[in-house]
């Protein structure tokens, strides 16, 4: 892949590979900067740097996902952080890293279960992926729920 040198671009490219959702849709949530800032505030920088550089070295195309699994997700130090990035994008919330990871690689004060922001909650990928809307926001309008679900075009 062409090497994205900008840190945010690299973060979004990594996130796209991890979430299975294309980079332009991730950018469209408006949350990329906030999520990168959250990760940088919680996870030690050397770990983030290693995560990014490992990812930048992975092959592109169909080989990317297998390489991501063996090179990053299976890694005891990077894997838990990568999985947390997936949860972050789908939920708009940070999940505390697993106890074993915290014991081995350190814990920071910010590593608690928390919603990044009200906008992040609403931008969680889980709602759109479900063909729905965030609970309590972006309502679809009176009676919309009686219609065929999105993507189900035939009666």
């Amino acid at each position: 892949m062409s090497a994205p040198n900008d840190r945010l671009e690299l973060f979004v490219a990594l996130s796209a590979a991890l979430t299975g959702v294309k980079a332009f849709r991730l950018r469209g949530t408006g949350q990329a900067e906030a999520y990168l800032a959250a990760v940088e505030a919680i996870v030690p920088w050397p770990i983030i740097d290693d995560l990014f550089s490992q990812f930048a070295a992975l092959p592109a195309g169909d080989a990317l996902e297998p390489a991501l699994e063996s090179g990053i997700l299976a890694d005891p130090r990077l894997g838990a952080v990568a999985r947390n990035l997936i949860l972050l994008w789908y939920r708009g919330a940070w999940s505390q890293l697993p106890p074993a990871w915290r014991a081995s690689f350190g814990s920071s004060a910010g590593d608690t279960n928390h919603v990044i922001s009200s906008a992040a909650y609403q931008a969680g990928l889980q709602w759109e992926i479900a063909g729905a809307h965030p609970v309590g926001a972006r309502q679809q309008g009176y009676g919309s729920w009686a219609l065929l679900p999105a993507g189900e075009d035939t009666p």
Partner: protein, 598 residues
Amino acid sequence: MSEAAEFDVVIVGAGVAGALAAGQFAKSGLKVLVLEAGPDTTRDLASYNAHLETFYTASSKGAETPWPPAEGAPQPDGADLFKQEGYFVQRGPHLYGSTYTRTFGGSTLHWLGVSLRMLPEDFELRARHGVGRDWPIGYAALAPWYDRAEHAIGVSADVEEQRYHGLTFTAGYDYPMRRIPPSYSDRVLGAAVNSLEVDLGEERVAVRVRSYPAARNSIPRGDYQPIGALDIGSDGQERSTYIGERCEGNTACTPICPVQAKYNANKTFARADRRHLTLRSQAVASQILFDGVTGAVSGISYKRYDDPRSTSFNEEVATGRVYILAAHAVENAKLLLASGPQSGEGQVGRGLMDHPALYAWGLAPFNVGAFRGPQSSSGIEDFRAGGFRARHAAFRFDIGNDGWRAATGAPDATVIDAVTNQKLFGRQLRTQLADQLSRQVRMSLAVEQLPDPDNRVTIDPAYRDKFGNPRPVIDYRIADYTFEGMAAARKVAARIFRQAGIKDCSRSTAELRFPTAIYDGEEVHYHGMGHFAGTHAMGSDRSNSVVDEFQRSWDHPNLFLLGSGSFATMGTSNPTLTLAALALRTADHIIAKLHDGG
């Protein structure tokens, strides 16, 4: 009664019962004071929306999440159930799983909005089925008040769909708004199961997915005007919002309707005649004062605070000719018990009920459009009546539109399971989540509970809140009658899932989020429905009840206790509509008496 009374009527509690009664009094020209324990932060739009922000940013989203209590007016919270450090002191053997809200508007701020009438046979459970007890009034006496309550709170339904189990309606009557459109998933489930017949003991019951009456705004009939979001300024004037005159499908009735298309008690206050109505928030009633000779109430002592985050207060006394406790089934009982031993021959607080409920959840064979619409829009009402009630509890199903959210915490829980346990990522993760989330189906199986004198609210000087008021001590046990109803409900739910081709996932996950009981050697995971009832039941005479059919205390002639605490039994309907009808009936009774000079 007191010569120098400041008000005609003093009401404790700015929830639905207090609001409806206050509105009637003000309309008839009586001077009313309403004391509300919680802060007044729900009637102007900016403050209401701040509660919505609290919900969005909360990491755990329970029924009370948007409505944090003041220091001096604590409330139960689902998160406290397993910590034994909440507001309730739970003595078991089973946990009482329900919560309520102490703020302006009360628990209508987070209720689901289901507005079913009780069935005629629910009022005569002892006479018809030999269990429970009978009410001193029947369905026919209450029916006109149901009509009025449905218009007062704004209920959407089509009357022709609601005639079942002996429910009758006034000739020509219909609900003020058309039914909420059933969801796509309601329709596909109905298409699959509406031909199904299920055997329950010796009875054969035909299943039907039916739209239930809901206090959520829909298309009005006649000249009815739906009331949407409130925005009441500090000058008391209401500003137009043009929001919430229809349900917009936020899938968040509980814990907070973002557009206020769902009824909350503040709407009733907003329509009341303000010339005769005084609303006093941050005023925690702490003691009822009695005349030692007549037993009549001479005043209500309350603790007024300026800062909801502070534990300091001033004590004041409110006086009236008539006093009404409309503070909630638990709070009414607590306040009476805290005021001395002179009430109710030991019956106050006894007979506490709920609808202990199970969840059934599964995966539909195709996309049903989960997580859209109001939280639910249909139910299965066919098991609310029948000869089986002599042996076990009746039950009703609520069919969710919100995937497995209530049962497992989906979609978050589904995502976490896929990522953390199944180790999915990338395109496979996205594909599986899209497939599974849209197919999630959930039903709540709410089961009747009979009044048991040992299920009760008491107080104990050892347990006090930060204002020194007593905390409710709860004794609660689910009886075999209800457990057997649960077992029958579970079988029916499984049969319905099978008929609809829904893969039953009910036992596989997340059960530890709920209270556990053991019945017949098996663990039962149940949850509360928020349907507190029975703590000051009505009856035909003082030997079997705390209040009469007008909710008047047998012991204190100018004291009325409003709310589901007055229910003799509770059937299977959600209690709000019935307690609203009773509140209107009581208000008219009091108005007639006061205008009589009584």
